[in-house]
Amino acid sequence: MTDHPGTHLVAPLKPELFLTTEHHLCPGCGEPVATRIVTEVLCELAQQRSAVCVLGIGCYTAFARMLDIDTVQALHGRAPSVATGVKRMLPDVSVFTLQGDGDMVNEGLQEVLHTAARGENVTAILLNNGVFGETGGHMTATSVIGQRTKTSLDGRDAEYHGHPIRIADLVARLDGAGYVARGSVHSAGAVAKTKKMIRAAFECQVERRGFSLVEVLTMCPTGWFVPTADGPDYMEQTLGQIHVMGELKVARAGR
């Protein structure tokens, strides 16, 4: 593969904190990219032997087997509470959740808001693709107006289906939140920016400045019913217009 004309390695094939180079998520999925940069940040911050991942339920649950990181599997939506219990007992360990939008913003909205308000020193990573990918393309609380899903066949209609929740904006307003940002993985530039956000979030945790959230917009061409190669553009033109990227809150030490 790697000696194919015109290709070259931009990074090692196997990231340090992965047990495997293979996954069986769909082609064009953004979740493996987002998860990879989380592991890269942990390595850069020398947290390889001081991290616990709390996984939600979604396609990314497959990473439970693949991540070379101590992992606790939570029920759908419950990862922030589970992470709270882990962190309170292991205060010096970097504790982070990996959750989808269905997990965090639908089923577990109360959990993430309370955990943020409590100022728990944990980092939540939201993989937001605006759709229930694992069930086969159903509307979530972050699906944007006009988005076609199996439960919004003619596109999400505000009057009929309600409005999407901008979760990072909501969390940023809570006093317990120390760092909140929204990035994406639809381009190399976006990946680089998002990685900086994830680093800032873990630094917030290490410095005990409160709850941190990085919402990462991820591609789901399967759940969006678009050709694989169209995923990044679709993401930017739909989700990216409503869930606007950028840092939303950077609390300084001594908040």
Partner: protein, 369 residues
């Protein structure tokens, strides 16, 4: 502490948790569970532990889940109503093999089915301990943490308003159950020493030779859970208190605080020359079926006294297997709030109900067996 002191039941149970090494507690206030949460909130920080006043029961059990995954002893609880909210987690945490201790400070006695049938989805059981008073509650609470670790399975302590809100002189010294507990080598600490761990209810591992086929893995996992439950039922002795049953015409079966009233009344009736005995299941699961069958072998009637519409009576019937008529003499009994103690928790009322059964048995005497 090792001296006897007059304590409210909730405080005594909290002290028993701490004596057992519990270092994390989370709960949501709800009568009559509230005071247990209050005492844990007051006491745990002094012991280097953490008590979180969770924003909901669902979050409380989630926090306990996380704490347990790190290998510490942790507990949560509520009333039966609050435990209804927790049931998804209570079912799945059992599949995750985490040693949770959960208190049901019940409103009345109508949570027997919830406690003993699992309560949530799937094939699982929790060991259920039902103390009759505060002194026994202190011992059984400490036993609960031991059994949870021994079996890597949740253990439920079934209390109520009376246990929570009355006072007894108790000695909350740590109890020694032996040190043969399995090492918690599955617990996460972030260090990957020697390699990363996974605590999950989904039946797969990071390093196992399991096939990646999820359905196959899950089927095996569910089957293993069934086998685990069976091993627990075979291996953990059903605890039971049996009195005066050898020649008893009538055996009265009751559990929890109500059973102490029954024991008192049966002793009175014995003193008056009546052939009455009692059976008090202490573990509601595993249910003491064999002991109950033996104790009721010569009985003409088995009477079941519960503060509910009649739930444990199903297990009594399964144990007695038609060898004697099984009669329900209990009923719903709370105060007007639905939380507190009703008319049934009164020795005169209990005595009258047992005497009514005695009268019917005496009336049928001489009739062909």
């Amino acid at each position: 502490m090792s001296e006897r002191r007059l304590m409210e039941g909730s405080e005594a149970l909290a002290e028993a948790c701490i004596a057992a090494g519990c270092r994390f507690f989370a709960g949501y206030p709800m009568t009559p569970f509230t005071e247990l949460l209050e005492h844990m909130a007051r006491r745990l920080p002094d012991e280097g532990g953490v008590c979180v006043n969770a924003e909901s029961e669902i979050e409380a059990v989630g926090m306990a889940w996380g704490a347990l995954a790190t290998g510490v002893r942790a507990a949560t609880g509520s009333t039966g109503q609050g435990l209804s909210l927790m049931q998804e987690s209570l079912a799945e945490i059992t599949l995750a093999r985490l040693p949770l201790v959960v208190f049901n400070m019940a409103r009345g006695g109508s949570d027997y089915f919830q406690a003993t049938r699992g309560g949530g989805h799937g094939d699982y059981r929790h060991i259920v301990l039902a103390p009759m008073d505060i002194n026994e509650g202190v011992a059984l609470t400490q036993l609960a943490f031991h059994l949870a670790d021994k079996w890597r399975n949740p253990v439920l302590v079934y209390g109520d308003y009376l246990l929570s809100h009355t006072y007894e002189a108790v000695d909350v010294s740590p109890l020694d159950f032996g040190d043969d507990l399995p090492a918690k080598d599955w617990a996460v600490d972030g260090r990957r020493d020697p390699r990363a761990k996974l605590v999950t209810m989904l039946g797969f591992s990071k390093h196992g030779e399991e096939s990646p086929g999820m359905a196959q893995g899950m089927e095996r996992h569910f089957q293993a859970a069934v086998e685990h439950t069976a091993a627990m039922e075979r291996g953990e002795p059903a605890r039971v208190d049996v009195g005066f049953c050898d020649d008893a015409d009538i055996v009265v079966v009751a559990f929890g605080t109500l059973a102490k009233f029954v024991r008192y009344v049966v002793r009175q009736l014995r003193a008056d020359g009546h052939r009455v005995g009692y059976v008090r299941p202490i573990t509601l699961w595993p249910f003491p079926s064999e002991a109950l069958a033996a104790a009721t072998k010569g009985a003409r009637t088995v009477a079941v006294l519960e503060n509910s519409g009649g739930q444990m009576i199903d297990d009594v019937r399964l144990a007695v297997l038609g060898r004697a008529p099984v009669e329900f003499i209990g009923g719903i009994s709370t105060d007007s709030s639905g939380f507190g103690v009703g008319d049934l928790l009164d020795t005169e009322v209990v005595r009258a109900r047992i005497e009514a059964v005695l009268a019917s048995v005496v009336a049928s005497e001489g009739a062909p067996a």
